[in-house]
Symmetry: C2
Subunit: 218 residues, 2 copies
């Protein structure tokens, strides 16, 4: 499958590399073509990896991963272009973490909305699925490395077919079907994004990002 | 030990009853003495249970549990009286859930502050420990009923001695020492209170409040 990965940070690099390992063709998008980190990522892979602008990547991908910095996501997606994204499934991993006032970061949107919802509102013809924003990127693509995969991730979005496609990709990443909890429509992104403050605090307390939430039930 | 339980709702009733079962003397406080729910709670217990105003309870307790509705907590604590609370440990279970604009509730304070912090700021001579606000009240006092207690709660607060006293009480409730994660100072209450939106969503998705978070680490 042809997949766009928007963003050249750790998350984009990790997701893009896993998708290539799985046999997909991936174009990494950034503000400008020839971005240094995007070029380095392309050169790590023998085939199926390319890079370009957000617009190039959005045109290329049948599915789009939003791995951009949350504070710049809406602007990046505008550059990608609504017409290039139209009708496509977008797996939104971004978090609206605002570091501009120092540590700890606050959320630039929360409580009565979320970045997932803002993206869906700004791009009504995109099928946004919020997923994977609640854990470290190395665990996103290798869940079995932690407790044999016995922990949870959450998905939400307004389009059932899009969630099914997202779930299929997550299962390719190694997630067991019953580890993926569908929280319903995109408004649930408030809940998953608002986990970030305790996630960051736990990372400090535990001294490592190698942890995840498990929902324990009887 | 003499303990004040402020609030006559499900949480206050459950916490108060557990404390009596453990052999403590408990006074339940509410806006007015003779509150119907407080009287019903007193009559359930053969001894060690009494009720009165927030002020009566605060005077009585060596330790105070804040089980009031989060939207009314600051007002209830003002009624309890700063001088009656001074120097005491307060275990704050409240959540700032605002149902005034319908469902889902929003948080009346979050992101750059928390109800735990607001209480600590308003009552600087009280030793506030935020705890137990992230799970259903029946699990608070009976953690072993879910997966043999293999799940987590969080505490935070500015006073180490107060956190030790809170932890001792939580262990009396049945929590294993290593299930209680100390997140540091009271600003971590942002993190634990901001879990509420996903908690509420999970309750809807799972159809039950009988679940809890476990932090999975290698």
């Amino acid at each position: 499958m042809k997949i766009a990965v928007l963003g050249t940070g750790m998350v984009g690099d990790t997701i893009g590399s896993k998708l290539i390992e799985l046999g997909h063709e991936v174009k990494m998008g950034s503000r400008t073509a020839g971005n240094e980190k995007a070029m380095a990522w392309v050169s790590k892979h023998k085939k199926n990896a390319s890079e370009g602008t957000f617009e190039d990547a959005a045109k290329f991908g049948e599915i789009v991963f939003n791995c951009t910095n949350g504070m710049g996501s809406l602007e990046a997606l505008k550059q990608a272009g609504a017409s290039n994204l139209q009708g496509k499934v977008m797996i939104d991993i971004s978090n609206p973490l605002d570091f501009s006032k120092g540590m700890p970061p606050s959320l630039s949107v929360c409580n009565t909305s979320s970045l997932g919802e803002e993206i869906q509102k700004s791009f009504p013809e995109v099928k946004v699925v919020k997923a994977l924003n609640t854990l470290n990127c190395s665990l996103m693509v290798n869940p079995g490395s932690l407790a044999g995969g016995d922990h949870n991730i959450f998905i939400c979005g307004n389009d059932e077919g899009a969630k099914k496609q997202a779930k299929d990709l997550l299962e390719q990443f190694g997630w067991k079907s019953n580890a993926i909890i569908d929280l319903g429509d995109i408004t649930a992104a408030r809940g998953t994004e608002m986990i970030l403050p305790i996630w960051l605090r736990l990372m400090g307390t535990l001294g490592s990002p190698a942890f995840n939430f498990k929902i324990v039930r009887n």
